[in-house]
């Protein structure tokens, strides 16, 4: 069944194109968006608004389906608890995002430009993700 990986490849490519077209792969622009008290550049708010609008429709459609069109079941997150783990993770991510202007998606797309900055950031990011995997059992009760 190669349909599912083929769709995933296509979605990854469209997602990457959206990030590049929107300006998310320009870390200085991301920093400008977060610099609300300085030379604020609000343009990236439109990226989120457009993405949210399209996805909200898709989410409503998915609620009326018993299963996805190709795969056999929806993989919906069931955890609804706002805990310290969620909050501290978001804090650490926010700090890192503010320093570098890269979040995971744009960093991995930028690997395609083979810039040393994107490569080093992504390598450090993957190391951080793997470090979490190593200690993950402490969090999974």
């Amino acid at each position: 069944m190669m349909k599912i990986p083929a769709i995933a490849f296509f979605c990854g490519a469209v997602f990457a194109t959206g990030l590049a077209v929107s300006g998310m792969t320009q870390p200085m622009k991301v920093v400008g968006f977060l610099d609300v008290g300085g030379a604020w550049d609000p343009s990236l708010a439109f990226v989120m608004a457009a993405a949210l609008g399209v996805y909200a429709i898709a989410w409503q459609i998915s609620q009326r389906l018993t299963r996805p069109i190709v795969a056999s079941a929806f993989d919906a997150p069931k955890n609804r608890i706002i805990d310290r783990r969620l909050l501290s993770g978001a804090v650490l991510f926010g700090i890192g995002w503010g320093i570098a202007g890269f979040c995971p998606g744009p960093a991995l797309v930028s690997l395609g430009s083979f810039s040393g900055t994107a490569v080093l950031f992504s390598a450090a990011m993957l190391t951080g993700m793997f470090a979490f995997t190593l200690i993950q059992r402490r969090f999974d009760k």
């Binding site: 990226v47 979040c103 979490f132």
Partner: protein, 156 residues
């Protein structure tokens, strides 16, 4: 930017790009039943005990991202801009980049999501966890950028 300069036409690339991001996430949901969250997709590959099929779609998604990145870097190189801390500019700059990468990687796994998973997919379905996470990482992103700007200004 003053209100007089505000022209919606300036934000057309952002709206097209955002719509493409939404479309990619919508397709992954409606066709494959999966959430487009980059940190979750990568994290699932790093976790043991995944089935072969589960590993395969994640790998292909990332491959699609990378392949598109290679093509995009050729046809629209200006889309890939410089970062506030570039590698090799100074030891401090390189160190900041590594610290930021470690924080983003560890933080998104600890917090079970990043800008795509929480910020787009979770927010659009009104998930309280994602709304809280997005407000927190945006808030700390803003605080960090502000702090760095203030340090830079006082340093010069």
């Amino acid at each position: 930017m003053s209100l007089a300069e505000f022209d919606i036409a300036n934000f057309v690339p952002q709206m097209i790009g955002g719509a493409l991001i939404g479309l990619a996430a919508a397709s992954l949901l409606l066709l494959n039943g999966r959430i487009l969250g980059v940190s979750g997709i990568v994290g699932g590959m790093l976790t043991r005990g995944q089935s072969r099929a589960d590993f395969l779609w994640r790998w292909f998604f990332l491959l699609g991202m990378f392949a598109a990145g290679v093509v995009l870097a050729q046809i629209m190189p200006t889309a890939f801009g410089v970062a506030p801390f570039q590698v090799g500019t100074s030891t401090g700059s390189t160190a900041m980049l590594v610290v930021a990468g470690l924080l983003v990687g560890f933080g998104t796994r600890l917090g079970s999501g990043c800008t795509s998973g929480h910020g787009v997919c979770g927010m659009a379905r009104g998930a309280p966890r994602s709304i809280v996470a997005t407000l927190v990482f945006m808030g700390f992103g803003i605080a960090t950028v502000t702090a760095i700007r203030l340090v830079m200004v006082s340093g010069t």
